[in-house]
Amino acid sequence: MPAPPHGGEVTIRPYLVGAVLALVLTAIPFGLVAARPLRPIQIFIVIGATAIIQVVVHLRYFLHLDLKPSSQNKLIALCFGAVVLLILVGGTLWIMFNLNYRLM
């Protein structure tokens, strides 16, 4: 059994909280798309917001990342990941809306 990080006690609580939050954040977009109670653009915004919160939940509860300045490496990795995601997601949105405008 590997030693828990930072010498702290590993409990099952954060994992359960994370799993429940992740499930709720997945159920909301599915429900919205299935039932269509809102206008499409509003649904898009909710899906995007739940996706971003989902990322934060995974980082916080499963990967145990926090904002303490204890680990520079983690921060660098996180910043790099954020930049790459910005390029990929931002680029995709740019390309897709552009194509949509011209072809649809």
């Binding site: 990941g81 790459v84 390029i87 990929l88 680029g91 390309i95 552009n98 194509l99 949509n100 011209r102």
Partner: protein, 660 residues
């Protein structure tokens, strides 16, 4: 009970497919019979298949890659032969069969030759190069191997049971949707990609952590050898790029299985987003394959020029710049899809920028050779052949990166450019690495003469096979034609067929080289672990290395750590006493998990739901079993370490207490 699986799944539709299926079945039975006859099942199981030793996993990866290389090359040979004879004629392959062959050729070469070859070299070399005893997650390493093997097995099985995808290796919708490809072919492609893709992502995570966390004390990032640097950057690319492919393939699967509409034309789907997602993975993938080859060339050129690598720092920065750029230029794969001039201009400007760091690398290698004592060994020949040939591929790449001349897209010009990058850039690099590190893995060298013959057959064969395709591209020949009606094309296609035959000779020469080397292994044996007078740490271990690599973990003080030790005359240093070493034990959970993933995917493809449940439960149980295994580690006592070191011709390299 058996879902869509009936007797009609056997390849009665074509004699050639039936022949291929028979050869596959007979070959598999032959291997099983041979191992049984030799009575080696127990040895194979305990020493190799369940091993968590990173060097053995590496060797198994490379073996998988070489076997699949032969399979993928047979596909290539069949296509070349078809095109050489099919002017105004049907040729010998029916169109539906030809379509499967170009799909399986590319799928196999990308996912089951290039990827396992590079991961195998990572596994064998990287831990030794950074002075580590193992990778960060040994069990996950075994899981990666068996998931990759399971994906490869799916592609091979599709030759015997059912048909493979005919939708091209990129499986673009709408053709790959259930409406237009109702058979199991695309499902085989999806599951092979999903399963091996998970294996690749795990490998990326594993090597990222290994390189960041497991370096020998004193080895700062800028002191890492270039192959390790490229392994680090490749791992980062794998972690960011492969999920896009997994998502694209999974969504396509949801479209096909559950009637969803992610990529359909109707009901709110968007075909173009598949293309976008595919190339978010696809472009970095080229650099995932290329960067490690660049790393190998850097090691080879320094060793065989007898000089320190020129511009180590600039090579590191060039690697990092390529890594960052490669994530941001994917659109140049679909200029023709109809984006506005703004979008195309942006990506059309960024794409050729990648030539700048690549040129920095080429010049660094040339300057390393300048005034060095260049030995023309087999790895060095592949390196030189690469420099000359790759520059042509790079320039045609700049041509294709310019948005306005996109008339060449979809012609054989693109095929020629792609192979011009993949064969000299990637494959020659891995071959150089295979020849370079073979003596480290097995304790004897590969025979030189057959190696040289193989090199000449490969390079001349490459030029003959692909330069005609550039010309045909200018003449307007589309790629993937099973027949054509332009008589002027045929002479070029016949020349290309000749080139493919020469490459066949190259593969045969490699096989002869291996056979001759095994026969003469006593004469080719190396007396130390350092046959090439190498510079980096992997040459400090014995050949073949002990399970723990380093009896005493080295301390590093600069780049070319092993060279510095040799210069200081400390190469024969032996510590006064040894310590116990803790290594991972063996585990059969990895191969069970891989096997069960095969069962699961096969059942999903043929929609045999009860079997899919069995496979899924099997995968879950294998992981659970490993999680509760408390004896996952093995302690090698100090006395045993000492005995092993005593028997070796060369003592452990250098230690923290060594007087430096």
């Amino acid at each position: 009970m058996l879902g869509k699986l009936t007797i009609d799944a056997l390849p009665f539709y074509s004699d050639i497919a039936m022949g291929g299926a028979l050869i596959t079945v007979v070959g598999a039975l032959g291997v099983v019979a041979l191992i049984t006859w030799l009575g080696q099942w127990r040895y194979l199981w305990t020493e190799w298949l369940t091993s968590l030793n990173h060097k053995k996993i590496g060797i198994m990866y490379v073996t998988l890659a070489l076997i699949m290389l032969v399979r993928g090359f047979i596909d290539a040979m069949m296509m070349r032969t078809q095109q050489a004879v099919s002017l105004n004629l049907q040729g010998y392959l029916p169109p539906a069969h030809f379509d499967q062959i170009f799909t399986s050729h590319a799928t196999i070469m990308m996912f089951f030759v290039a990827m396992p070859f590079l991961v195998g070299l990572f596994n064998f070399v990287v831990p030794q190069q950074i002075g580590a005893r193992d990778v960060a997650f040994p069990f996950m390493n075994s899981v990666s191997l068996w998931l990759t093997a399971s994906g490869a097995a799916l592609v091979v099985v599709s030759l015997v049971i059912g048909k493979f995808s005919a939708a091209g290796w990129s499986a673009y919708p709408p053709y790959s949707e259930a409406q237009f490809s109702p058979g199991v072919g695309v499902d085989y492609w999806i599951w092979a990609i999903l399963i091996s893709g998970v294996g690749s992502i795990l490998t990326g995570i594993n090597f990222l952590v290994t390189i960041v966390k497991r370096r020998a004390p004193g080895m700062r990032l800028m002191m890492m050898p270039l192959f390790t640097w490229t392994a680090l950057c490749t791992s980062i690319l794998i972690v960011f790029a492969f999920p896009a492919l997994t998502v694209a393939a999974a969504l396509l699967g949801l479209d096909r299985y559950l009637g969803m509409h992610f990529f359909t034309n109707a009901d709110g789907g968007n075909v173009m987003n598949y293309v976008n997602l595919f190339w978010i993975w696809g472009h970095p993938e080229i650099y995932i394959l290329l960067l490690p080859a660049f790393g190998i060339y850097s090691e080879v050129v320094a060793t065989f020029s007898g000089k320190q690598l020129f511009g180590h720092k600039s090579l590191v920065y060039a690697t990092a710049v390529i890594t960052a750029l490669s994530l941001s230029i994917w659109l140049h794969h679909f200029f023709t899809m109809g984006a506005s001039p703004d979008v195309n201009a942006f990506f059309g400007r960024v794409a050729p920028l990648i030539a700048v760091p690549t040129c920095v690398m080429i010049f660094d290698w040339l300057f390393t050779m300048y005034r060095g004592r260049v030995q023309l060994s087999v790895p060095m020949l592949f390196m030189l052949g690469f420099i000359v040939t790759f520059v042509i591929g790079g320039m045609t790449g700049v041509l294709l990166a310019a948005a306005p001349d996109d008339v060449m897209r979809g012609t054989t010009f693109l095929t020629a450019h792609f192979h011009n990058i993949m064969i000299p850039g990637v494959l020659f690099g891995y071959f150089a690495g295979y020849q370079y590190w073979f003596p480290k893995a097995f304790g004897f060298q590969l025979e030189e003469r057959w190696g040289r013959r193989a090199f000449w057959a490969w390079i001349v064969g490459f030029y003959l096979a692909f330069l005609p395709l550039y010309i045909l591209g200018f003449m307007g020949m589309p790629q993937r034609l099973d027949r054509y009606y332009v008589a002027a094309w045929q002479p070029y296609l016949i020349v290309a067929e000749g080139g493919a035959l020469l490459i066949l000779c190259g593969i045969i020469f490699f096989a002869i080289q291996l056979a001759v080397s095994i026969r003469d292994r006593a004469a080719l044996a190396i007396s130390t672990g350092d046959p090439w007078n190498g510079r980096t740490l992997e040459w400090a271990t014995t050949a073949p290395p002990a399970a723990y690599n380093f009896a005493v973990v080295p301390h590093v003080h600069g780049i070319d750590a092993w060279w510095a030790v040799k210069q200081a005359g400390k190469a024969g240093y032996r510590p006064a006493r040894f310590h116990d070493i803790i290594m991972p034990g063996d585990s059969s959970a990895g191969i069970v998990l891989g096997g069960m993933s095969f069962v699961f995917a096969f059942a999903m493809i043929w929609q045999i739901w009860w079997l899919a449940a069995v496979g899924g439960l099997g995968m879950f149980s294998a992981v659970l079993w490993q999680t509760f295994d408390d004896n996952a580690e093995r302690r090698i006592p100090a006395s045993e370490v000492e005995a092993i070191e005593e028997r070796r011709s060369i003592a452990p390299a250098f230690a923290s207490r060594a007087p430096m």
